[in-house]
Symmetry: C2
């Protein structure tokens, strides 16, 4: 990787690596605090990368008019479609369907009950026709009736063996390398990074620390009601029920942010209309703000979709983001690589 | 303060302060990593203090059989009666009643409606008779119908002027000095400290960072439903409604811990039966565990109450704690001082 930062972008690469000039420049830059290797090497140089680097520089420059104290450097990220892939459908939906198949032997009644019947007989057209309602049924049936600890193990076991239908890689290796770098870069600048996802909180927490460096207590998501029960052995357990507790999507995202974090983010990144209210809530605070949207424009390396997509539709937020000058990470234009090439994130995290 | 640590407790004070021996000892202790001034100076020496120091030493000793990685050093504290005073009644209840009086002019209908009528006419016997149901009415009426930001300001304004009826001090100065030291000590040992309180999350968050060093995102509490609304000016607001969302008390505490933190604590401190399930949940994990209970035994300096108290009843948890050998912080016996003598925590935090 060549050594380039926002402050060096005006110089040609040759001038940077020409030893005497380069060394002198770096020494000077080190004194002024600007010298470092590119913190976002997977982002192509351009307006998007510059807007990120500029924002972070502004809010972290002591004495500057946009300086933000460390405690208030809250950054929130959607997960599906923002930190990892969400096609051909949400990975949690694929998990739920795999689980339906896995536990079908304990549910003989499913053979005659839709949408289970369709899924078990391989009628994917009927499954698709059942839409979100069908999906909710799969999730309810597979995300309840066990302890939180058991569910944690089930998720990790699935991630260990399941492979993405197109890429044939573990799902946790289909995270976006540029976003991993962004998370690391923000944390290096004393941001606290949070996930704020419509996905299930219990589905994400088992692996977010290993894959994203985001610990469970910084994951906000949708949840079902959990019940405290005293086991016959005198050991308490937390049991997952099928009752919905909280949907962390759309207007639920600012609500979830307020409930879990209790501070307004100064930096938020999403990719769909489900993130619009989180971006609006972030934008409405005082002082410097960063609102980012991942735009899936790369059918070759990943997927291309926005206004018409059944998953991760980006329509209203696309209009509002364009109108208000939010930052778009255009996958094809801005991302040098999409997925990590190393095996660092492949396979599932161990508990 | 004399320099004493768990490792020096066997020595007489004189031997510590006798210069040559003391200096040599401290130098040696520094090399072995044990040297520091007493981290808990407001705790009297004895079994309680020793159990805290021993536990922290065990879980932080690299290579020891009880070593716990930093990420898993989760400590949860009840608030009312554990970190600050809760008599003659929960401070949040006093806040709600003050607010009823303050906004009564906007509610002429309260003059003829109980329990408001009783409170506004000063009939405290009738207020007491209305019990918890009356209190819920006061809270519902005063904790809803405004934005989260406005409520934040209302709480801070009240804390700025309100004084405790007996001690005539700001409520935020009626925190327990020994517990402040314990929080600091745990954080110095890379614990992440959380509040897990039956109190309202929006009532605590405006001041916990300044008073306890616990940021809003590490406060778990009871909450009402909050609604995202787009204002006429195009600015989004989060409005507090009177609908109960979550009661973080009793069996709700492990549920709240799981939902907000997503890890089981290894260290928990409470003071009443409302903390029993949190303590049981903490105790049921694998590895070293610390379960602590503040026992209010000091009517002179604070209050003395347990099994019969209408606030902070300690009955079942007292029995279970005694039977299972949990640690009791006996206020009279274990605490050298109760409240901070400095003005560091007096007055309310500014937003």
């Amino acid at each position: 990787m060549t050594r380039q930062t926002s402050s060096t972008r005006g110089l040609s690469r040759r001038s940077i690596i020409a030893a005497p000039v380069g060394v002198a420049f770096l020494a000077m830059a080190a004194r002024t605090g600007f010298a470092q290797s590119d913190p976002l090497p997977s982002w192509n140089d351009g307006a998007t990368k510059k807007s990120i680097l500029d924002f972070v520089a502004r809010v972290t420059t002591q004495g500057g008019s946009d300086f933000v104290p460390v405690a208030e450097r809250i950054a929130t990220f959607d997960n599906d479609g923002t930190l990892w892939c969400e096609q051909p459908m949400y990975f949690q939906a694929l998990f739920a369907m795999d689980r339906v198949k896995a536990i079908a032997p304990q549910h003989p009644e499913w053979k005659d009950k839709e949408p289970f019947k369709a899924l078990l007989s391989g009628d994917m057209k009927a499954v698709a026709a059942a839409g979100e309602k069908g999906l909710v049924a799969f999730v309810a049936a597979t995300h309840s009736g066990m302890s939180v600890d058991d569910f944690h193990r089930i998720v990790l076991a699935w991630l260990d063996t399941a492979r993405h239908p197109r890429f044939q890689r573990p799902y946790t290796s289909l995270v976006y390398q540029p976003m991993l770098e962004l998370l690391t870069y923000l944390r290096a600048n004393n941001f606290k990074t949070f996930i704020v996802s419509g996905g299930g909180i219990d589905f994400m927490r088992p692996w977010t620390e290993k894959v994203y460096g985001i610990p469970p207590e910084q994951v906000v998501g949708s949840s079902g009601v959990t019940k405290f029960e005293m086991g016959a052995d005198g050991k308490p357990v937390l049991m997952k029920t099928a009752e919905v507790e909280f949907v962390d999507d759309g207007p639920g995202k600012p609500v979830g942010i307020n409930r879990f974090i209790g501070r307004r983010p100064i930096f938020a990144f999403g990719n769909s209309d489900g993130d619009l209210e989180m971006l609006q809530w972030t934008a409405a605070g005082a002082g410097a703000r960063f609102m980012g949207i991942v735009h899936h424009t790369d059918a070759e390396r990943e997927y291309a979709y926005d206004r018409q997509s059944h998953v991760g539709r980006l329509d209203k937020a696309l209009d509002e983001g364009l109108r208000r000058g939010w930052t778009f990470a255009d996958m094809k234009r801005d991302w040098r690589v999409i997925f990590p090439t190393t095996s660092a994130t492949s396979g599932a995290a161990k508990p």
